[in-house]
């Protein structure tokens, strides 16, 4: 293996990451998809000629951790490397070969230097639409979810596959924007390929493989050093979450043995009749994400970084569903891999983990705005973020991924639905020595002058975010219509003037609340994040509301 010292490896590696970052940013700038523009729901990866990762863009959501190398292998099985020609572009949006749902398009382009294949570039973006029923949990098969493409060639030696494009246009709601985004992927891969060639010229490199070996080795070594700090053992955890008809159980066993981590999801419920099933690629991505957060959050993604991590799941469970189970809303279940594994790792590295977060609400509205134009929009709202040793959870912050929030003024302007209140919810954060993040109350009024249909999708309505080490639960999530709690999965038709609202959940607390320093409890009371009653009930602190002072009336058992 060619030697790279700590200077040249650093410079070349970071340069490759920067090429990937540039592609990511140019895609963000030109994308029609709101998820891409505001939520960085995309990624870009550079590979050597053997299909091994050189670099991945820094900014991307956790669902893309480690998926692209697998996607590339699927593509190369269909079109072996030796059959590819300059100007070929290969793509797929298959949930099992790609990143877990049809919305994500994976676009790959081989990079040739002269007629020699030297590498690949791949970009993945969330498309504005993919046809089918649209964004919904209702499908019971992937066929209803939209247009599904196996590994196909979008371009043959630089020539566009017009028939395929026509077929694609025919199957989606906003064809111009979809094709725009698709072609932006094609362009950015071309630009990325050129940048990779410039890089090779600048550093006089004919073959990227020794460099990718060095990158993988260095990542593996750094990761291994960190993993060796995690005590050997078998750590188990299970979480229950709301399903379609009945609760779903997610279970995990984490085995740590001398710097190797084996994660298995034995004990997890089977697939469900709703679009919240999770292909294993997505489960694996979130597993890698958790290990990365707990070890080296800044380590660039590549196969070396995850070489010591094995992820397995029983065949055809909800975290390893097979076709044709529907997967459009795979995040609704898949995101829970994070608290599930955090709970297991809590037994090994209690000082590093965070408590269960409150996750988020997605709700949809359909109707007409005041001007009489149709509206059909999604609105996201976050609950509280998990607490950690030494840190209270952040209030009203999404986890484990990001989301796109719509400011109240923008919302009112576009929809004619009035926001009456947006306030942090006192006592919703799980009590603990370190308090869970609080949720929020948001109240909307149908001021459109028309009927309005509202549908909620959110977890933690039955199962609150749990605490760790004596920390308590966060408050549950509740949806209301005209002040009365309603079924969390229902769709509701609102008359003009009707109100709907949500109490966003709080995150779990960390450690015994009776150990929370008195001044922190009093500060929370002054700020209004904990009520006087809450202080007494949860923290054993009697607060004098007038002076803001107080004293402890219950103490932690020693």
């Amino acid at each position: 293996m060619q030697e790279f010292d700590a200077v040249s490896l650093k410079i070349m590696w970071d340069r490759l990451v920067s090429i990937a970052d540039e592609i990511v940013l140019s895609l963000v700038r030109t994308s029609f998809s709101i998820n891409v523009r505001e939520g960085y729901d995309l990624t870009c990866v550079l590979f050597d000629a053997r299909g091994r990762t050189l670099a991945q863009g820094t900014y991307s959501v956790p669902s893309f951790c480690g998926t692209a190398p697998q996607t590339l292998q699927h593509m190369l099985r269909r079109y072996p490397a030796e059959t590819l020609r300059p100007g070929d572009v290969v793509m797929t949006n298959d949930p099992w070969m790609g990143t877990g749902h049809l919305y994500d398009i994976n676009v790959m382009r081989p990079v040739f230097r002269g007629d020699k294949l030297v590498g690949f570039t791949m970009s993945v973006t969330h498309l504005p639409d993919i046809g089918g029923v649209g964004f919904s949990a209702t499908p019971v098969e992937v066929y209803a979810e939209g247009f599904r493409m196996p590994v196909v060639k979008l371009m043959h030696a630089g020539k566009l596959n017009e028939e395929l494009l026509e077929l694609f246009r025919f199957n989606v709601r906003v064809p111009d924007e979809n094709v725009g985004d698709l072609m932006a992927n094609v362009t950015c891969n071309e630009v990325g390929g050129r940048a990779l060639l410039d890089f090779m010229d600048e550093y006089g490199i004919d073959d990227l493989s020794p460099l990718s070996d060095a990158i993988q080795e260095q990542s593996a070594r750094a990761m291994r050093e960190e993993l060796l700090k995690i005590p050997n053992g078998v750590y188990k955890n299970a979480v229950d979450i709301e399903g379609i008809d009945e609760p779903i159980r997610l279970a995990a066993t984490v085995k740590v043995n001398d710097g190797r981590v084996a994660i298995d999801f034995e004990g997890t419920s089977g697939p469900v009749r709703g679009a919240i099933n999770v292909p294993i690629c997505y489960t694996r991505a979130f597993s890698y994400y958790v290990v990365k957060c707990l070890t080296i959050p800044t380590l660039p993604n590549n196969e070396g970084a995850v070489r010591a991590i094995d992820v397995t799941a029983p065949q055809n469970c909800v975290l390893n569903c097979e076709p044709p189970w529907p997967t459009g809303g795979r995040h609704a279940v898949g995101h829970f891999v994070v608290p599930l594994l955090m709970g297991a790792f809590a037994q090994a590295v209690p000082e590093r983990v965070i408590t269960e977060p409150a996750m988020m609400t997605v709700f949809s509205v359909q109707g007409k705005n005041r001007e009489g134009h149709d509206i059909s929009s999604l609105f996201f709202l976050a609950g509280g973020f998990g607490a950690a040793k030494g840190t209270d959870g952040l209030s009203v912050t999404p986890a484990p991924s990001n989301m796109t929030v719509v400011p109240s003024e923008v919302w009112e302007n576009l929809t004619g639905i009035v926001v009456e209140r947006r306030e942090m919810l006192a006592d919703s954060g799980g009590p603990g020595e370190f308090r869970g993040g609080v949720g929020q109350e948001v109240v909307f009024r149908n001021d459109t002058g028309h009927l309005l249909t509202v549908g909620f999708v959110g977890q933690r309505t039955q199962f609150p975010a749990r605490g760790l080490f004596g920390g308590q639960w966060g408050a549950k999530r509740t949806y209301f219509v005209n002040g009365k709690p309603v079924h969390p999965k229902g769709r509701h038709v609102l008359q003009p003037g009707d109100r709907f609202s949500t109490h966003e959940a709080g995150a779990g607390g960390y450690g015994d609340p009776l150990k929370r320093p008195l001044e922190r409890v009093l500060a929370d009371c002054r700020e209004g994040l904990v009520t006087v009653e809450g202080a007494k009930r949860d923290y054993g602190v009697q607060v004098d509301a007038r002076s803001g002072g107080g004293q402890r009336i219950a103490t932690a058992a020693q």
């Binding site: 490896l9 410079i11 140019s26």
Partner: protein, 694 residues
């Protein structure tokens, strides 16, 4: 005879530039900043400079001032105790913020705290709809009782008035302001619709609260400075530099202190543009590197690219999203955690890392001999022979190369089994790469092609790194301006008086005609003109730029359309769809011919006459002396090691002189490193223009 003075307060030094408008000659000066009361250094420096140049203050027609006062107050949380009046139900908006994490992998993320604590935010009844119509009348009774309470119980000095949908109609905010002003004339007040009537409550209110928070101190500071200048006999215009690259009257600066944030670097970028145009290179990268950070800006036709977003007081070093989100017109700049004091260390991957942590001024780099034990980029530049330990700051400070070597050995070279020279060059080159990367990324965010641009390099550490950075970016030439150490102060002298503002009004293009278009712009134009008049600019001297943020109906993203100044009336109206399509296709490479369009934001920039700087503008003059200072061993990577390198005294160079690299061209505050084959030429204004050998 007419003189103008530019003053820029930096962390360590306050810089001064005095221009003689009759001949374009610039005299510069520097004094130590006086952090407790920055006006002391300002007055001292002006006195000294005028005494040295033997000019009475009566000859000075204007003083343009840039200050870090406001930025520092927000970072250090030294503003006034500030209250907030807010629409009932919305007091938590500035806490809830964007509901977004800026780093998805950091489990202990911290967010910037609002400058008004939750306790000092009070809700009142009264509601406007999105179209600005009234749904519920404002309760002035509640307004007064809440403010009375805040004043008496909490002793607030300033108040931000922030109501929902005030971007569409500011009358509730204005009514509250009037009532409060009458009852509490001593309170500093600001309304969110006055600060910037932009749709998006979190950013608008954060901007308004930061404005209120910094109003009392700005008012006191500028008031003191102004009266001291008057006492000395100054009768000219006292102007203050803003973050958008325009100057405003002191009165306006006191009303909108939030617009003064990052004004010093803005002046530097503006100066780059001025020099670039003079040198026939209007498309530029402006690169300014000091002790802890580097600042970069991209310029088209001599004008820095702008935006309406600024983040201040980041809680995580250089992480975008970790600060308070403001909406004010600014020059679009990148800030990189790389400078002379940047620490070199082994990172979590087992590789060399440089910055963003910095040794700061104390203890500073190991070679300063002030107790610093950790190696910095300056230490490495000494070890590489780029900086002369006996000629640092023109010889005012001696550097300890041995201490630099020890620090580098123990922290980087030994742990990574690197030769010392290799480690030192590695640190130098990694910093270059970090800066180049930041420029590349910024350019791709903006779709800016920098490959045919020139670079203007300045700041204490910029010139020693610029050439290799330029090479990485494939840039053909680099301009090292004369007076690089006081670029921002000189930049104040080329800054026009201007005022820029916007407001949000979503209107379908189909509903507009020429008269309505003018009616939408007119209040903004009137406002800008009135403000410019305060600064002594007559209406007929004002150039008005009109821009629209437009989109296709139903899309969530706008593109900016600049309306040609020469078009008006129905002709302009008819041209808008095509202007929009052109701007749109530049971003998205396509258009939707039949889709309805709408206007979202209306923007106006009123610009006063550009200061006429004589074509004979020059900072340095003929100084004479020996050009050659001998040779020094310097590490030349392309030659594979240390070689004798020519050392040149920049002050002895005359217009037309050329220097072929490798060479080290020294001036008091910095050293230009010129690589083998690169060719430097001194232009008539004593700027060094270096063409890279490729």
């Amino acid at each position: 005879m007419a003189f103008r003075i530019g003053v820029d307060i930096g962390g360590t030094f306050t810089d001064f530039a005095l221009i003689d408008d009759s001949n374009g000659r610039v005299a510069v000066h520097k004094v130590l900043t006086t952090p407790r009361d920055p006006s002391e250094a300002v007055l001292q420096g002006i006195d000294e400079l005028l005494a040295r140049e033997k000019q009475p203050i009566q000859q000075v027609v204007s003083v343009v001032h840039g200050t870090t006062l406001v930025t520092n107050a927000v970072i250090e949380r030294k503003g006034a105790r500030t209250g907030m009046l807010v629409t009932r139900g919305f007091r938590d908006v500035i806490d809830i913020a964007l509901e977004r994490r800026y780093d998805l992998y950091d489990l202990r993320l911290k967010l910037a705290q609002p400058v008004v604590p939750r306790l000092l935010r009070r809700e009142v009844d009264g509601r406007l709809r999105a179209d600005g119509s009234e749904e519920q009348a404002l309760s002035l009774e509640q307004v007064l009782s809440e403010v009375t309470n805040l004043r008496q119980q909490d002793d607030i000095q300033a108040l931000a008035i922030c109501f929902m949908n005030s971007y569409a109609n500011g009358r509730h905010e204005e009514a509250a302001r009037e009532a409060v002003a009458k009852r509490f004339p001593e309170l500093y007040l600001c309304t969110s619709s006055d600060v910037l009537p932009f749709m998006r409550e979190y950013e608008r209110w954060t901007t308004a609260t930061v404005n209120a928070y910094t109003q009392p101190m700005t008012d006191r500071y500028l008031g003191r400075l102004e009266s001291e200048l008057q006492r000395r006999g100054f009768t000219g215009a006292f102007l203050v530099m803003t973050s958008s690259g325009g100057a405003v009257s002191a009165a306006l600066a006191r009303r909108y202190p939030v617009r003064l944030i990052e004004s010093g670097p803005a002046a530097g970028a503006l100066m780059s543009g001025f020099l670039g145009v003079l040198a026939g290179a209007p498309n530029l990268l402006s690169f300014d590197m000091g002790g802890t950070t580097a600042k970069g800006a991209l310029l088209r036709d001599g004008q820095p690219l702008k935006k309406y977003e600024l983040e201040v007081a980041r809680v995580h070093e250089f992480k975008q999203g970790s600060g308070l989100q403001l909406r004010i017109p600014v020059i679009d700049m990148i800030e990189i955690g790389a400078g002379g004091g940047s620490l070199a260390q082994v990172d979590e991957r087992g590789l060399v890392k440089v910055g963003p942590q910095s040794a700061g001024a104390e203890p500073g780099p190991a070679c300063y001999g002030r107790g610093g034990k950790r190696p910095t980029s300056t230490d490495c530049n000494v070890l590489l022979g780029y900086l002369d330990p006996n000629f640092f700051l023109g010889g005012r400070m001696r550097l300890d190369a041995a201490a630099a070597g020890q620090a580098l050995q123990s922290e980087v070279a030994k742990p990574l089994s690197l030769e010392q020279d290799r480690a030192a060059f590695g640190v130098h080159e990694i910093l270059n790469e970090d800066v180049a990367r930041a420029f590349r990324i910024h350019a791709s965010e903006l779709g800016f092609d920098y490959r045919r641009c020139s670079m203007v390099a300045f700041g204490g550490s910029g010139p020693v790194h610029a050439m290799r950075i330029a090479r990485k970016l494939r840039i053909p030439d680099v301009i090292f301006p004369a007076g690089a150490g006081v670029m921002s102060a000189i930049g104040m002298l080329v800054t026009p008086v201007s005022f820029e503002t916007l407001r949000t009004r979503r209107v379908a293009l189909a509903e507009l005609d020429a008269a309505k278009l003018d009616a939408h712009f007119q209040p903004l134009i009137d406002q800008a003109s009135a403000f410019l008049k305060q600064a002594g600019i007559a209406r007929n001297e004002v150039t008005v730029l009109r821009r629209l943020d437009m989109r296709y109906r139903g899309q969530g993203y706008e593109v900016e359309v600049t309306l040609p100044a020469e078009l008006s009336g129905p002709v302009l109206m008819a041209a808008i769809p095509e202007l929009f399509r052109k701007a749109y296709s530049e971003t998205f490479s396509q258009t939707h011919p039949d889709a309805p369009m709408e206007v979202v934001n209306w923007k106006v920039e009123g610009i006063g006459p550009r200061p006429k700087v004589a074509g004979s503008y020059q900072v340095l003059g003929p100084a004479g002396g020996q050009v050659d200072k001998g040779t020094r061993k310097a590490y030349l990577a392309d030659k594979g090691g240390f070689l004798d390198c020519r050392v040149v005294n920049r002050y002895a160079l005359k217009p037309g002189d050329t220097v072929t690299g490798p060479a080290l061209i020294e001036e008091n505050e910095s050293t230009c490193l010129i690589g083998p084959g690169d060719r430097a030429q001194v232009d008539p204004r004593y700027n060094l223009i270096v063409r890279l050998a490729y």
